[in-house]
Every structure is written in C-alpha cells, then in structure tokens.
C-alpha cells in the first residue's frame, strides 16, 4: 500500500514548499512517460496518506497541475494525466462540451440570442489569443 508511490519523496528540509515538490515529481514522471496520458492519478486522499502529507497540500498541487494543463480533473471521477501535446484529448473534449453546455444554459437564462452568444464567444477567443 505504501510502496506504490514510494518513489515520490517529500522533504521538509528542502527549501521548496511541499506542494511544489509534489508537482515537480509528478511533472517529471509525466515528461518521462512513466505516467502516460490518460493514466489515472491516485486520489488526493490516497496520495496524501501514502506520502504522509496533508490533504490540503496534495489538493493544491493537483490544482496547480491542472491550471498548468499537466493533469485534468473530472469531478466525481478522479484526476488523469493530460495529453502532453495540449491537443484536445478525449477528456479535454468532454470538458469542452460540458463548459459549452453550461454556457448555452447561462445564455438562455440571460435571454441572449444565439448570435449574441456567438459574439461573446468570439470576443473571449480573441482575449485568450492576446494572452
């Protein structure tokens, strides 16, 4: 049980905060291919228990990894290694559809027409491109 993630080591004497150490070690495994795209990550609590590190630290690491696009979290299903190339993997596509459905519903609530919604979407795309 404890040996599954024994390779990941968190040092408290290391200058870097614990959440960063976790992120780096996961990144390294993803980059090396040891953790291939689509591989399911251990649940936050399972990893926390395996590393003897607080749940909140692992949560933070997973959150930041997701923001960086290294992993993808599906609510209720778990976290998975994202497609490295950043191309829409199956999971990313699912997420996109989810978001779009939510946007459509919201648009309806606000009483926006299809055209108005499309305009807003285009504006958002332009903003993302600027970044």
């Amino acid at each position: 049980m404890h040996s599954m993630y024994s390779g990941i080591n968190i040092s408290q004497t290391d200058a870097r905060p614990m959440y960063l150490q976790i992120m780096e070690q996961i990144r390294a495994r993803v980059a090396a291919g040891d953790w291939p795209s689509g591989k399911e990550l251990p649940s936050i609590r399972a990893l926390a228990a395996a590393l003897s590190v607080s749940v909140i630290t692992v949560k933070r690491a997973y959150l930041d990894l997701e923001n960086d696009g290294v992993i993808v979290t599906r609510h209720g299903k778990g976290s998975f290694v994202a497609d490295i190339n950043g191309l829409a993997g199956e999971l990313q596509e699912e997420k996109l559809d989810e978001h779009l459905t939510a946007v459509a519903a919201l648009g309806q609530q606000l009483g926006l027409s299809e055209e108005e919604l499309a305009t807003r979407l285009r504006r958002a795309i332009r903003n993302v491109d600027k970044k």
Partner: protein, 296 residues
C-alpha cells in the same frame, strides 16, 4: 457527505485562578486534520479538556460531532478517540487485557488492525502496562484509540517522547485515518515540523486566546522574511502588514504576514532576499506580534 462540523466552539470562556481561556472559537470540518500550536500554558490542554467533556465552559458553546459538551459526552465519546500524554492505562493489567476491554465496549473495534498496530508499534500484547516505557505507553494508548476507528480523534501531544521511527509510524497511521473523508483529527503538538507536514488547518493559541487560525498552505504563503539593503541615508518606507522590523545599519529584515509579489516590486531594488518561513518561525513571529499588540 456529513454536513455536521466535527468540532464547533463558539466564544468559549473558562476561568481558573491564574489563567483564563477567553473568547475561543474553533471549527473542524470532517476530513480535516487540525494542529493546535501554542506555548506551554497557552491553553491547549484546557481547550482539549473542554472538547472531551472533562471541563464545562463558563460561557459559550462547545459542540463535538454535533453533541453539546459536556452534557452529552457519553453519547459523543462513542465516536471520539481521546488520547493525552497524561493518560495512564491500568498498571496491573496487560496490553492484551486492555485490548479486550476496549473491544468489548466499542462496536468499531478492528481486531486485525489492532494486531497489525501492535507489530508496527513494536509492542508486546502480553506485556504488563507497568513495564512499558513512557514512549511505549503512549503508543499503547494510541493503539487502543486507533483500532476502534473513531470518527474523531482528539490528541494531546501524541508524539511527545517518541523516537523518530515511532513518530514516522504514527504520522503514517494518522494520514491513513484521513483516507476516509468522514473522519478527522485534532491534535496539539510542540513538534511544529510534524504539524507543518500533516495539518490541513492550524490554530495558534497564546495566553488563553486564539491568535490565528487558518489553512496551513495559507500560513505558508502569507508569511515571508524579506532581507533589504537600504541605500545609504534612505529612510525605511512605512509599510502595512509588517509584523516585525529589525534594522542593523543598512540591513533591514522585515517579517510580513500578508506577502504578495506587489510588496516586493514596491520595495524595489533594495530587496536582497525573500525567504519563506517554517511553521515554527511563523508561530514564534505571530505570538510575539500578538503579544506586542496586547501590550504584554
């Protein structure tokens, strides 16, 4: 799943002859570990005694697992595992006797897990409790509490007097408890390294008051030590959120509890180094800061 907070203290007051616990409010959600940190005599043990029904508050309310304490403690304690380093088992009985004793009282007793812990903690079931060293005794009491799998564990200095190996084993067991998001742990400790490692939330207590309570990562992100070198003759700019300032000629060390990158840009070129602070350093700085504020 369960919405009830595991611990709810609201404006609790407890007065003794030479010490008063004042206006204490504390929360613990299921699935969390909270570390209670404070100097000796700060009120950690008093707080824990209020939570376990040994003391009744003079004012305010104490609820544990939804039950009012100390009035409903008999029911509450069915699901609470309380271990204090002051607690003693019955000297003239064996560890095995105690295990059978506890197993017969609590429905949640896991015999297999208990046997595993005996081995892991390097104990001997047939040994008389009076023959145990203080470290072994603590491990025995913890074993009896852990093997019942209670929903809430309240621990007063659980790792005091334990060797590093035992501490490592214990922390590992605590984190195993947290695999279940309906279970939680509150522990008080002087060992800030352990508290820093496994706590989700941390509460600082000093002189009978809660001086700070926050997520662990929040503490670690907000506090920084900034080493500055002021150009000759320059005055130190007045800054908010500076908890302490130590000047030695041109060299200034600032401690802030609201760090942001903007602060660094504001300070400009004089900044030589920005250091993160360990929980111990944060704790000491925080206590000193609050004592100054209170004029002590």
């Amino acid at each position: 799943m369960t919405q009830t907070k595991h611990i709810e203290m609201r404006n609790v007051r407890k007065a003794f002859r030479f010490f008063t616990l004042e206006d204490l409010s504390l929360d613990l959600e299921p699935g969390q570990i909270m570390g209670l940190v404070g100097p000796n005599g700060a009120g950690k043990s008093t707080t824990i005694r209020l939570l376990t029904g040994l003391l009744a508050p003079d004012a305010g309310e104490v609820r544990v697992l939804g039950h009012v304490m100390p009035d409903n403690q008999a029911v509450a304690k069915r699901d609470i595992g309380f271990v204090s380093d002051e607690m003693r088992l019955f000297g003239h009985a064996t560890l095995e006797w105690h295990m059978q004793f506890i197993a017969s009282i609590y429905a949640g007793w896991d015999e297999q897990y208990a046997r595993t812990l005996v081995k892991r903690f390097n104990l001997h079931a047939k040994q008389n409790v009076s023959g145990l060293s203080s470290g072994e005794h603590v491990k025995a009491v913890l074993l009896l509490a852990l093997a019942r799998r209670p929903r809430l564990l309240i621990l007063d200095e659980p790792t005091s007097g334990l060797d590093p190996v035992a501490r490592h084993e214990l922390l590992s067991e605590f984190m195993d408890v947290l695999r279940d998001e309906d279970r939680s742990i509150l522990f008080s400790s002087h060992n800030t390294v352990d508290v820093e490692r496994i706590s989700d939330r941390i509460a600082f207590i000093d002189r009978g008051r809660l001086i700070d309570s926050s997520d662990k990562e929040d503490f670690l992100e907000r506090w920084r030590r900034i080493q500055l070198q002021l150009p000759a003759g320059a005055a130190m700019p007045e800054l908010p959120h500076v908890v302490s300032r130590v000047q030695d000629g041109q060299f200034v060390t600032l401690t802030t509890n609201q760090y942001s990158p903007d602060l660094i840009s504001f300070l400009g070129a004089g900044v030589r180094e920005v250091q993160r602070m360990s929980l111990e350093e944060i704790f000491v700085a925080n206590v000193m800061h609050h004592r100054e504020l209170r004029g002590s």
